[in-house]
């Protein structure tokens, strides 16, 4: 599983749309807070591979390593446990 603290640091790149707290800042971006970790990993990997396409996310996801994906998923998942 990923590292929540490293995920939080990386999530600054996601926060404009998804919020640093995982609550969407614009209607087309989903809330991520407390989302299942497995779903978040799959979503990011599908954007990375091109299996899933979105103008913004296809671009953002390509900058992520496997560790980044694991860490971001751990971070946003963790926000549901507050």
């Amino acid at each position: 599983a990923g590292d929540v603290k490293a995920g939080r640091a990386k999530a600054t790149a996601c926060a404009a749309c998804h919020g640093i707290d995982g609550m969407s800042k614009l209607p087309e971006a989903p809330n991520l807070a407390g989302q299942t970790e497995e779903y978040l990993v799959k979503a990011l990997n599908d954007f990375r591979s091109g299996e899933r396409k979105n103008e913004m996310m296809s671009m953002m996801a390509k900058t992520l390593s496997d560790a980044d994906v694991a860490n971001l998923a751990a971070y946003y998942h963790s926000l549901g446990k507050q």
Copy 2:
């Protein structure tokens, strides 16, 4: 916007995986409670059109009308306001 009550009735088909309360019953299925309505409509329509693919969701979404999509999105979105 969709009809929450009609959405709740239709959501019995979604509940085995996503919960009637929008909280995932299995790790590969995302939580839906309180998700933005716009995102939910797009997700369902992308599964309906084949733009987005998933073994379960591609099958389930094909049974939905435009009204069903609007109602389900309204219902699962509404669960975040409890």
